[in-house]
Amino acid sequence: MHSIPGRRLIMALFLIFLLLPIYWLVNMSFKTNAEIVSTMTLWPHTPTLQHYRRIFTDESWYSGYINSLEYVVINTVISIAVALPAAYAFSRYRFLGDKHLFFWLLSNRMAPAAVYALPFFNLYSAIGLFDTPWAVALAHCIFNVPLAVWILEGFVSGVPREIDETAFLDGYSFPRFFIKILVPLIASGIGVAAFFCFMFSWVELLLARTLTSVQAKPIAAIMTRTVSAAGMDWGLLAAAGVLTIIPGALVIWFVRNYIARGFALGRV
């Protein structure tokens, strides 16, 4: 691949630009509040773990992480489970209204969350799911299910049709073919789709905050509350922020070669 002159310098500068704000957050999370406010130091001179300790011992803090993970996992499971058969159908068959349905799905991925915040609030209050992880998980389906369908459709289309035909000739029933043959073949695609569902559910705040009040409050919402209520506990805020970056940073390693494909909705 041809590259441009000075590419190392450009890349280095860009990576520094990306990492500097993150470094600053990490830096602040290890400082005492006195050090943050009084002096400008490039690294913590009196490093402390007090903010992390507080988060891991105070239930109102760590339960936020558990709540977040709970709805993210529920959402990922629902999204993949319903999207798999649909992706197969879209990839292999033509049926009444297929194109319109496909477009309709995509249009939901693109719908602004702010539009749905209020009606979701009413809907989930009415059916008694308000303030449970299920409400947020179902609400996040609105953009994750279409995304999963689009990505998986790309991967299913990469499986030659002859494989289906051979399997059916060999006497496989449809569910058995699906689980025994198709799913293992597109395992990497399922991984990528799950990763993207995980990610978009993890980073979304507006709906998660609107649909919860006490019991299922996500960590992101707990953070915003602290900014206004507890005055300026910058160190604690920074520590909480650092902890929200970690899950993403961990899972990203496994899908690093597929990230671009996922963002292109499986169409690169």
């Binding site: 400008m40 980073v203 705040l205 990203i252």
Partner: protein
């Protein structure tokens, strides 16, 4: 690769249909319902017809003025974002290392900002830009700039834009990188034999090869920046004054702040309609590109230049070939 017609496929799609219908159609019907009514609280509703829509599109009323002003700001924001992120993303993609462990390292660092919860992105920049405790604000102020994103409109805008560049340029870069990776080496060898300049290679080979992923990048970036809510909300809260109040922020203010259901619903519908139109363009482009790709794939064996053995004379450099 033509698909067989099978109406029973609907059964496979049914679960998706039900889940999405539950979380999309029901709320949308509620919105349509609200948009035609006025409320004075206590769940008492009054029929208002298309009154809200009229008000919304008339800049002389309060609602219309706010909507159109935030729409203007949002469009300007999207335009600036695209003008910066797309060229920068291309440059970064071209600067990617060629092989070795550094490729994986760069990919992971590039993707990192994309995986940070949006309000944490806001928090990071809120802290980073503060003149008293943030590195950026501190350095700028000590260099003699009077930088304060809380008080100054222009500083607030610059902060929000730099933040978005920080957050999303990686997406454009990753997409372009994926596009660049799909270019066979033979193209470059042919260009070398022809003595093509660096710029000619970019213009005749790389750009045409990237144009589909670039299209995806531009549309995704347009739509996401058009819907932006969390990051500016955390950093500036829409201020100072109303200078960074985008459509989503305005909408949430009206809906959840003032509980003005009718106005908020009308605004939602118009907002959604704009997105839907852009989305339709996006879909058409994507599906057309898909059929084009299939057509190309069928003709591939003939069109693919043989590596090194017999490089095509000059013709490879024609943009028309580059698209194939």
């Amino acid at each position: 690769m033509d698909k067989t017609i099978n109406q029973k496929a609907w059964f496979l799609v049914l679960p998706v249909f039900l889940v999405v219908a539950f979380s999309a159609v029901l709320p949308l019907m509620t919105v349509v319902n609200y948009s035609m009514q006025d409320t004075f609280g206590n769940n008492q509703f009054f029929w208002n017809g298309v009154g809200w829509f009229k008000e919304l599109l008339d800049p002389s009323t309060d609602l219309g003025g706010r909507f159109l002003a935030s729409l203007g700001r949002n469009l300007f924001f999207s335009a600036v974002i695209l003008a910066i992120e797309v060229p920068l993303g291309i440059v970064v993609a071209l600067s990617m290392p060629r092989e070795g462990w550094s490729v994986a390292a760069c990919l992971v660092i590039l993707a990192l900002p994309l995986l940070i919860p949006w309000n944490v992105v806001g928090t990071i920049w809120q802290i980073f830009g503060r003149p008293d405790i943030g590195l950026l604000g501190y350095v700028l102020n000590h260099l003699g700039f009077n930088y304060n994103y809380v008080a100054n409109d222009i500083d607030a805008w610059v902060t929000v834009i730099v933040m978005d560049v920080w957050h999303w340029t990686s997406l454009v870069a990753l997409l372009c990188y994926a596009g660049l990776k799909s270019i066979p080496d033979a193209y470059y060898q042919a260009a070398q034999i022809d003595g093509a300049s660096r710029w000619a290679v970019f213009k005749a080979i790389q750009l045409p090869k990237m144009n589909r992923v670039l299209l995806i990048a531009v549309l995704l970036r347009f739509m996401d920046s058009f819907m932006i809510y969390t990051e500016p909300f955390v950093v500036t809260g829409g201020g100072p004054g109303n200078s960074t109040t985008f459509v989503s922020i305005e909408l949430v203010k009206i809906a959840l702040g003032q509980f003005d259901l009718g106005k908020a619903a009308a605004l939602s519908l118009v907002y959604n309609l704009i997105i839907l139109i852009v989305c339709w363009v996006f879909y058409t482009v994507m599906t057309n590109a898909g059929t084009e790709r299939k057509a190309v794939a069928q003709g591939e064996p003939a069109a693919e230049p043989k590596p090194a053995a017999a490089p095509k004379p000059a013709g490879v450099l024609k943009p028309k070939e580059g698209v194939a």
